[in-house]
């Protein structure tokens, strides 16, 4: 093999790897990226509802109902609209009524089936997505966030 060819081999391997990576990334983006939506986005039906998505907002006060077999239902609100949510499992430690929450799952009919309720690490913490969603709904009161 000539010197040029040797270098060419590695360039080809590198290109092959990059090509494989690009193909993998593109197909994974197609399937596994999850968009964040507020309750108002979903009510207005401007967003595709047939895929996995994140729904965030405040846990509506008085909406949390704990049923048998670790099933919980509650409503997520951005103060303008609210969506009912069902979840099976242990809620994160910082899940409280009136506080920010982000859930991941799918819309089934008019109900959101959450597969994950995201644990947040600080009591004072408001997920920025949630803060934005409430701002958009025009109900933001300063001071809710640290």
């Amino acid at each position: 093999m000539k010197r040029k060819h040797k270098r060419l081999t590695f360039v080809l391997i590198a290109l092959l790897l990059l090509g494989a990576a690009t193909a993998l990334v593109l197909s994974a983006f197609e399937e596994s990226i999850v968009f964040f939506h507020s309750p108002s986005d979903i009510v207005s039906k401007k967003v595709p509802l047939d895929r996995r998505l994140r729904l965030g907002g405040l846990v509506e006060k008085g909406s949390v109902v704990k049923k048998a077999n670790a099933v919980v239902t509650f409503r997520i609100t951005d103060t303008a609209n609210a969506i009912p949510v069902t979840y099976t499992g242990i809620l994160p430690d910082l899940f409280r009524e009136g506080q920010g929450v982000v859930t991941e799952g799918r819309m089934v009919g008019n109900e959101f089936k959450a597969e994950e309720v995201l644990a947040k690490h600080d009591e004072k913490y408001m997920p920025p997505e949630v803060a934005d969603a409430i701002k958009k709904a025009g109900q933001w009161k300063g001071g809710q966030q640290k």
Binding site: M1, R3, K6, T9, F10, I13, A14, L17, L18, A20, A21, L24, V25, S27, A28, F29, E31, S32, I33, V34, F35, F36, R54, K66, A68, N69, A70, T88, G89, I90, L91, D93, L94, E104, A119, K120, H121, D122, E123, Y125, P127, P128, E129, D132
Partner: protein
Amino acid sequence: MIAEAGHFALTLALFVAVVQSSVPLIGAERRDSLWMSVAQPAAILQFLLITFAFACLTIAFVTSDFSLTTVVRNSHTAKPLIYKISGVWGNHEGSMLLWVLILSLFGALVAMFGNNLPPGLRARALAVQAMVAVGFYLFMLLTSNPFERIIPPPANGQDLNPLLQDFGLAVHPPMLYLGYVGFSMAFSFAIAALIEGRVDAAWARWVRPWTLLAWCFLTGGIALGSWWAYYELGWGGFWFWDPVENASFMPWLAGTALLHSSIVVEKRDALKGWTVFLAIVTFSLSLLGTFLVRSGVLTSVHAFATDPSRGVFILALLVIVTGGSLILFAWRGPGLKSDVLFQPISREGGLLFNNLVMTTAAATVLLGTLYPLMLEAMGGGKVSVGAPFFNATFVPLMLPMLVAMAAGPMLTWKRSDLKPVLNRLWFAFFAAALMAIVAWWLQGGAVYGLIGAAIAAWLFAGTMVQLAERIHLFRVPWRESLRRLGRMPRAAWGMTIAHAGLAITIAGVTGAGVWKIESIQTLSPGQSATVAGYEYVFQGVKKVDGPNYRADRATFQVKKDGKDIVTLSPEKRLYVVQNQPTTEAAIYPTLWGDLYAVIGDPEGTNGAYVTRLYFNPLVLWMWIGVMLMVLGGAFSLSDRRYRVGAPTRTSRPVEGAAAAQ
């Protein structure tokens, strides 16, 4: 008073660093040994000053000096002493102080133990190291001063986030930082070499130990963080592809590539430009990690404070360091070309293949981590890129490298033949096929599980075959083999141990990731649930009090085939000061899997609780595997050719070789 002294020391360190970043550089340019010799005392002085500042902050935390803002925000008189101390770095300001402490430590180490370095290279490397330090001192003094006073001082503090009050998290940041910041040494040497325009085998021998050291710490630090997430977050998982985890994983990937490419520079004097480039990339990714974690652009337990001015500052620092060094590389890098040739199928070829895969994988992780930020910055909506993305991209990309990894170490330098190597690997083929069948028989046909089991077996067996080849096992009398084993260089031991460790880690990750069994149910006292053949009898919940928390402690009697195995006591704690609940999982590790129990909220009034029980197969293997990888690194580090006095660059090779002995 102590706080003012610490603040003063920090400011003084900035000035020392300014001197250290300029005078030796000019001296090296002019070949003025007096100016160059400023570097070592300056580096040591910097380290002493920062150690002093760090001690001041530690005293403030231990004595609960609530006139300091940092102490008020992150400490409390009722906190146990160990967490008062770990609280020093359990916050933004303190952790940056730890960052510069380690940065100056590495500088001081080079100053003290680098006597065999050529004076020019040492002066330049220390100057570059000081430039990085200047950036971080300015960052601290201007935006995150740990010694800031609060007036009037409150009576007590706000306590440390309870999730951080934990032994794993007391050790995790220092380990991780030793890794992150350790790569600054490789970076400084790379920049110094670019300025000098010279990279050779001796250069690689100086850089490799620092890279190895940093790599060992980073590996350990990542594993500790993962271990912490496993037992503290109570979700039974160990790796979430969270942006913050990725932030530490990207420098690890690049650093691992650097570790391997520097071997080629050392042994064959090839891949020089590429190695310098990798050193720049590795440290840049470390800085990027610091930026992602500290700027608050990402939300996680690590983002202590969200202050935009800090983010902008670190971003600027990142752009200057990375941009500046890449421009320097573009200008000087082409001069580093080597005339050494090698065939694609050769040891060098194998190591280069490792490098290509590692960097491609790192780029993929980078893309996945930054994509949400980029999309949002361009107004494209809010997205999250989670585990499914990384599992679908990173894992398949790594597979070819893991396959090649068994064969690579058996290839010879320069030119090699694949056929005899593959012939010798028949045992590994057999082991891989056998393990895949065993996995299929035990766990069913989850594709990732089968692949993981096969790859782990292939790599482990392949590494053992390579070891057997090395000592001529079964080809010479076993006494001779033993003698060869005893005389194997430490670096070869290091490679064997680390590669075997990776194989065991892969087995563990496969087990815990693919074959996990999870069961959620409500249990009343006396009821039981069975998970993976283990019967958990729920015996109710008692209230207990800790030093700064109240807890509900559940008791599970775990039985298998009617025999008592262990009593598990998971807790739900409420940390009083921050009014924050935490979940404490109860874990019983066994060789074949961890029993893992967590309790949730009470249900009804008869003492029933929501319970979550897991069987996490092979988790222990993961931790053992990672420990072996670190051990392998340590072995390699202790190789005689890196011991103090070993690497000597000289124009008279004969004498140099004699001196090295």
